[in-house]
Amino acid sequence: MEEKILKIFADSTTRYFATVSDGSARLGTPYLRDETENPALDYAAVIGISGHYRGRVCYTATREQLHALLPQFGETECDESLYADLVGEITNTISGNARESLGAGFMISPPVLIPASAAAGAIADAGAPLPCYVLPVTWKEHRSRVLVTLQPQPVHKPAPDAT
């Protein structure tokens, strides 16, 4: 995957935290996930990518991060369903904002919430396995990760008119 695509997701993640919270996110060095590693934390959501790219984008976070983030939205009582909902909305926002650079051909599905134990499997695309990059994110000492598995797809242009 091109470095510039990872940077798009890094920028999108930084912008999310800078906009919704009173503290900025610190990004770690992205790395290629080892097949034996399960990078999923307590909550995870995945978005399927189609169109000019094929793959998945996943956001996974600790309960502590989500618990600390929810009051930034005015929530005073946090529960399991709100943690799960927020992790889905973050995945959606980070992926959707990436279209500013990747264009409308970067098509995203609604987020699917997945048990953290299944996140590693869910991120691996069915069929040809694609490399998965992990972008570590720290916000107020709370951990989360953006997992990106993407492959550009050939864009079929209509054949030139033979006449």
Binding site: L70, I94, G96, A104
Partner: protein, 128 residues
């Protein structure tokens, strides 16, 4: 377009598949000029609420299960409603915003939203 009567408490329909987003919009708009607010978690649910509720303003996400926001805005426009429709979406490419406006939305607010950006967008649409 007929402008809603802003001198009376207005009605708002909030459509988003995220509970957190629905509640952020509801909480912030309750404090402003909206007397009655209803929530829906996708386009299909929004259409079911719309006819009976007759909102003055609709905030509408695009990426939703069951029925997406672009399809919903098109169906709402076919109803010849005067409701103001504000798209609130994470889809940051220009062509999506243009398409939403083409289908009949009045404004486009990019996620993530803040209380300030939300108030500004709604007030802007109601006043202009």
């Amino acid at each position: 377009m007929t402008r809603p009567d802003t001198s009376r408490p207005m009605k708002l329909l909030v459509v988003d598949d995220s509970t957190v987003v629905r509640r952020v919009v509801e909480r912030n708009m309750k404090r402003s000029r909206f007397g009655e607010i209803r929530l829906a978690c996708n386009g299909r649910e929004a259409l079911a609420v719309f006819d009976q509720f007759q909102p003055d303003v609709v905030t509408l996400d695009i990426t939703m299960p069951e029925m997406d926001g672009l399809t919903t805005v098109e169906i709402l426009r076919q109803k010849k409603t005067s409701a103001i429709i504000l798209i609130i979406s994470a889809l940051a490419d220009r062509s999506t915003a243009v398409e939403a406006l083409k289908r009949g939305a009045h404004g486009f607010l990019l996620k993530p939203i803040t209380p300030e950006s939300l108030h500004l967008a709604i007030e802007d649409l109601l006043n202009n």
